[in-house]
């Protein structure tokens, strides 16, 4: 693992983008890695594009600037997932995880200049809707991220979910996460 891993989340207000970033960071803490998560906020309300960031390191994290060259990019919003802009600054060996049934040609084309970069896709929306609520999307994509990137284990993510949710909401989030983990595919 590199000394400092930087992650950028893309999504829309109301999708739990900031929460997803926080859950990832909290799960990393459980694995005895330092982490930092923070949102990029504007005056936007529900529906507007939102970005959030996570830094993960084996050492205490100093830098507080925004993330410019992420190793990992995660697109929670299916609409944003197909746009090439989400790839801005991606590390040459970076990993992209998108919420989509498949990888779009545009993305594949854009990534062709980075042969060592990897693109993963998971139908997080489909998984969430199958469980009855689109809000389970980000758990599904976090599960996919665990599998695709290996930066965190599914178990740690599950532990964090257990501190946050209860009852059927927890159960469905756990299911979504597992399904995301199982169903993620590489383009």
């Amino acid at each position: 693992m590199k000394k400092l891993i930087e992650v950028r989340f893309h999504g829309r207000g109301g999708q739990g983008v900031v929460t997803a970033a926080r859950l990832l960071a909290e799960a990393c803490l459980l694995e005895n890695k330092y982490s930092l998560s923070f949102p990029e906020f504007g005056p936007e309300r529900s529906g507007a594009p939102v970005r959030a960031y996570v830094r993960i390191s084996d050492e205490p994290i100093d830098t507080r600037s925004l993330v410019y060259d992420p190793e990992i990019i995660i697109a929670i919003d299916p609409k944003i997932a197909s746009s090439v802009e989400i790839l801005a600054g991606l590390d040459d060996e970076g990993i992209v995880v998108i919420n989509s049934k498949n990888a779009s040609d545009a993305l594949l084309k854009a990534l062709s200049s980075k042969p060592r970069a990897k693109l993963f896709y998971v139908d997080a929306r489909g998984i969430a809707l199958s469980l009855g609520d689109a809000r389970f999307e980000n758990s599904a994509i976090l599960g996919a991220t665990a599998k695709a990137t290996g930066i965190v284990s599914l178990g740690s993510l599950e532990s964090v979910l257990r501190t946050r949710f209860k009852g059927t909401v927890l159960e469905n989030n756990l299911k979504a996460m597992q399904l995301g983990y199982d169903k993620v595919g590489q383009a």
């Binding site: 926080r22 803490l29 330092y34 949102p39 906020f41 507080r64 600037s65």
Partner: protein, 398 residues
């Protein structure tokens, strides 16, 4: 400083860490008005109070002016008092800030530093606190959630010391810190109670000793009464060091008046405050890997300005780069630049100072930018070119 295992840390935003510390500090009165980006702090505190986790009165005032007014009055009544604000809120409090220090109220206030209108902007810069820097408050800047958490306890103990009795502002960068989540090492409630027992005010509003607070002082007395703030301020650096020592014994964590990193042999020393100091540290580490002899001095205690703590770290540098996240339009230097240059003049040092205003209204500054600023100054030094003096505005499109 001992490093804790990440898995032992609690994930908290800086705002949550502050609220948690305030709860553990067992405050009596919180009077606050919500304003972005400090809102999370008062929301958490309201939850603590309404859930019965903190036995305090939460006064949901109708403005920041009333927030600070109620805080001052509660503090004079002998209560341990906390509030929090940002930006316009601090500006609206402005006149009451002077009352808080003038009446020697040991209030602790978290300030989630944010730009001032106009144009309206909710993001980070230090314009708010810089506009209030002469109000007689102790001001501390933090660089992460851990410092914020720890400083709350230290701030109360410092403020409530009978030799000090000054209000303390704990400054955290809006969003960059207020909304950033990281692992924080916490102390237990019993440790908190031991470090910070209930406030014992010597003088307070009570019929058992009917005193007059806030009398009208004419020219024959005003100056002497106001001078008390200066005397108390002068005692702060030593007292804070004592408070930190006690806190260190308990936690193993200590921050000092300044944070110095690789200053001992630095040709050029960066000076800044807040979250950017953390980014600058990262940048200096990278520069050192490349053989660039840069250093960093972060201002942690800003008022009183800790001249004695700063000088040893910068006196041998060939140039200083002072990074200010606030403007002082029309002034020969930006706020921290003014203090640094005054300090150098008084010490008889003629070290060139490059003063940059950066990051207004939340504009980010990256490690790469710190590197490019520093590299330019080092190149100028090597080439024998004079360091450009006066204030420059980093990254502004003109």
């Amino acid at each position: 400083m001992s490093l804790l295992q990440p898995k032992t840390l609690k994930p908290m935003s800086t705002s949550e860490a502050i609220a948690y510390a305030v709860k553990q500090a067992n405050v009596d009165v919180i009077a606050a008005y919500p304003i972005t980006p400090q809102t999370i702090i008062v929301e958490r505190l309201s939850e603590y109070v309404n859930n019965g986790e903190l036995d305090a009165e939460y006064v949901a005032v109708e403005s920041e002016h009333s927030a600070m007014s109620a805080c001052v009055a509660a503090s004079l009544t002998g209560a341990r008092v906390f509030t929090s604000t940002a930006s316009q809120g601090l500006a609206l409090m402005h006149e009451v800030l002077y009352v808080a220090s003038g009446l020697r109220c040991p209030i602790v206030m978290a300030i989630a530093n944010r730009a001032l209108s106009a144009p309206i902007n909710i993001h980070c810069d230090h314009s708010d606190v810089m506009g209030s820097r002469d109000a007689g408050w102790v001001h501390i800047f933090v660089e992460n959630a851990q410092q914020a958490y720890d400083r709350i306890f230290q701030a109360f103990r410092l403020a409530e010391d009978n030799d000090i009795l000054l209000p303390v502002g704990v400054n955290l960068d809006g969003f960059f810190l207020s909304h950033a989540v990281e692992g924080v090492a916490t102390i237990s409630d019993s440790e908190a109670a031991l470090f910070l027992p209930p406030r014992k005010a010597k003088y307070y509003i009570d019929s058992s000793m009917p005193m007059t607070f806030g009398a009208f002082a004419l020219p024959d007395w005003y100056f002497e009464i106001k001078y008390q703030v200066v005397e108390a301020m002068e005692k702060v650096p030593k007292k804070l060091a004592e408070v930190e020592e006690a806190y260190y014994k308990m936690t193993g964590r200590m921050y000092g008046h300044v944070g110095a990193y690789r200053t001992e042999d630095a040709d050029v020393c960066l000076i800044c405050a807040g979250s950017a100091a953390a980014t600058a540290k990262f940048s200096v580490a990278r520069m050192r890997e490349k053989g660039i002899k840069a250093g960093l001095l972060s201002i942690r205690l800003f008022r009183p300005f800790p001249v004695e703590s700063i000088l040893p770290h910068v006196k041998d540098a060939k140039a200083l780069i002072v990074m200010d996240r606030a403007m002082s339009p029309g002034a020969p230097s930006a706020p921290i630049g003014q203090d640094i240059k005054t300090m150098l003049y008084d010490a008889g040092l003629n070290i060139p100072v490059a003063n940059f205003v950066y990051g207004l209204g939340g504009r980010d500054i990256s490690a790469a930018e710190f590197e490019s600023i520093t590299t330019k100054v080092i190149e100028d030094l090597k080439a024998g070119r004079p360091i450009e003096r006066g204030v420059k505005y980093w990254g502004v499109r003109i």
